[in-house]
Amino acid sequence: MRWLVALLFMTLPAFSETVVLGLSQNKIAITTSFDGSEILVFGAVKRETTIPDGPPLEVIVTVAGPSEPVSVRRKDRRFGIWVNTDAVEVDRAPSFYAVAASGALNEVLNEVEDLRYKISIPHAIRSVGAPMSIIDAASFTEALIRIRSKENLYQLMENHIAVDDQTLFRGRIELPAALTEGDYETRIFLTRNGKVISSYETSIDVRKVGLERWLFSLSREQPFLYGLMSLAIAIAAGWAASAAFSLLRN
């Protein structure tokens, strides 16, 4: 184990190709009219030497929303109707996760590196300790990926990053409308021959703003007040309707 760590320290800086990141915009505001967003990714590779020979440079971009534990439930037929029976708790599942790569993911990234950096969707999810009674725990994490992929919350986009002359690259990641607030950890990996040679991390701040922010905070911090406000609005609307219609009738 020690030699591996030593090797890492020795080899990593030796690579001459690095990513340096500057963000022109790193905030996404969820307003009342928010209906999803698109992140355009432009970048360049900084290198001191000429482009090395061998396999070409590949680029992987990941965007991960805040993680939270989720519980995946399976339905089973009980007394003729379909009922949630078994449940598996997934300890860490990002609310949003997108991987975009310049080629097929299993070609631009080898399994060992994937495991280390947790790049592919199955590795971005951490699941330990399914109950003993459940034999096929893997099918629960598969279901989680399937369901969230269908909602566009988990995205695997292969051949989605264009790389020009092994130096300039660009890609696009679409964020769906149903976004959770938080810091969206954005990572960029440069790979050669399946190995990560450089990486960069930054975060995109996704926040509710204006009315959205105000209502959401009020509902969490002052739930009693928020409830009273909802009731007051309802009563006022009911009264206004009644008054307006009795006016109309006269």
Partner: protein, 322 residues
């Protein structure tokens, strides 16, 4: 030299003007769709004199609002429509306040029990099932009863006979704690109205309905109240029980979405007026048969979903306590 840009730009501009992001439900929906739904259910509630919660809540499930948010928000919306309705009944003096208060005491206890049950089952992942089962059972029973009643009534009016007025005597009159309800002209035990209020309170919390569609028949057939005070009195009780439910959901689950409620309200209020005008042009029995059909239709759809093998056997939910 190293130029990185992450540019965020709004997509789908085409729908931008109509889409609205709901702050609590955390989904983006079309504002006109919500106004339309509110209007449609409003028309029906105006036509039939029901709150419409039993139709709106399942419709909200269908358009992708999380069930917990749909139930809590619908309770809030019912406060508005019931308040609007009860004012008219106060003007006509068709509210039995004393009976209303007795029903209310039962209702508040029921709502508290209902929210506790709701939260417990939510932690067990069974809340969707509970809500849907409640809908199937209650809509099925009420729908069938109404359908049979209206058919019989239609047959009788066709023959030229008058509707029988029913007053149940028996067990209810042997119970203790009798009280006089002047407006309703009743001298009965407080236990039956307390129980009626309680069961409606539980339903209000679990199903996101006012419970008028259960309370109204119960008041007429079980308590023997005169029909003219039944609607006003039930609306009076519903305001407070749904208001209480709204507060309970808002403070324990944080699931009341006020933006959603307002959009549904606007449509509902306008729809209700149109509905009332259509309603006066139709005969009572025809109305009841139509309503019975609607109730059975919603019931059938929900029952079908429970019995049919689902396309996706798995579901993802939040872990309680995080």
């Amino acid at each position: 030299m190293a130029a990185w840009h992450l540019i965020s730009s709004p997509s789908k501009d085409y729908w931008g003007g109509m889409q609205i992001f709901l702050p609590i439900a955390e989904v983006s929906v079309n504002a006109f769709l919500l106004l339309g739904l509110g209007g449609m259910v409003g028309i029906l509630s105006g036509m039939f004199g029901v709150g419409g919660g039993f139709l709106m809540t399942p419709l909200l499930f269908f358009i992708g609002i999380p069930p917990a948010v749909a139930v809590a928000t619908e309770a809030n919306q019912i406060v508005a429509s019931s308040f609007s309705g009860v004012l008219a009944h106060f003007r006509r003096k068709t509210v039995d306040l004393k009976m209303g208060f007795v029903l209310l005491i039962g209702g508040l206890i029921g709502a508290a029990l209902g929210v506790m049950l709701f939260n417990y089952l939510k932690s067990q992942g069974q809340v969707d099932l509970l809500v849907k089962l409640c809908y199937v059972v209650f809509l099925g029973v009420i729908g069938s009863l109404m359908f049979i009643e209206s058919l019989n009534a239609l047959r009788k009016t066709a023959k030229g006979g008058s509707l029988p007025t029913r007053r149940k005597h028996g067990l209810i009159h042997k119970l203790p704690f009798k009280m006089r309800f002047r407006v309703s002209g009743l001298y009965i035990s407080v236990i039956p109205p307390l129980l009626v209020g309680l069961s409606v309170g539980v339903l209000a919390a679990i199903m996101g309905v006012g419970g008028g569609f259960i309370m109204v028949p119960a008041m007429i057939y079980l308590l023997g109240m005169p029909t003219k005070v039944v609607i006003g009195t039930s609306l009076f009780q519903i305001i407070f029980v749904t208001g209480f439910t709204t507060m309970l959901h808002a403070t324990t689950n944080y699931t009341v979405d006020v933006v959603l409620a307002v959009l549904l309200l606007i449509g509902g209020v306008i729809g209700a007026q149109i509905g009332t005008r259509i309603g006066v042009k139709l005969k009572a029995e025809q109305l009841r048969i139509l309503l019975a059909f609607m109730v059975l239709l919603v019931c059938g759809k929900l029952a079908f979903d429970l019995l049919m093998t689902p396309a996706e056997m798995f579901s993802v939910g939040a872990v309680e306590g995080h």
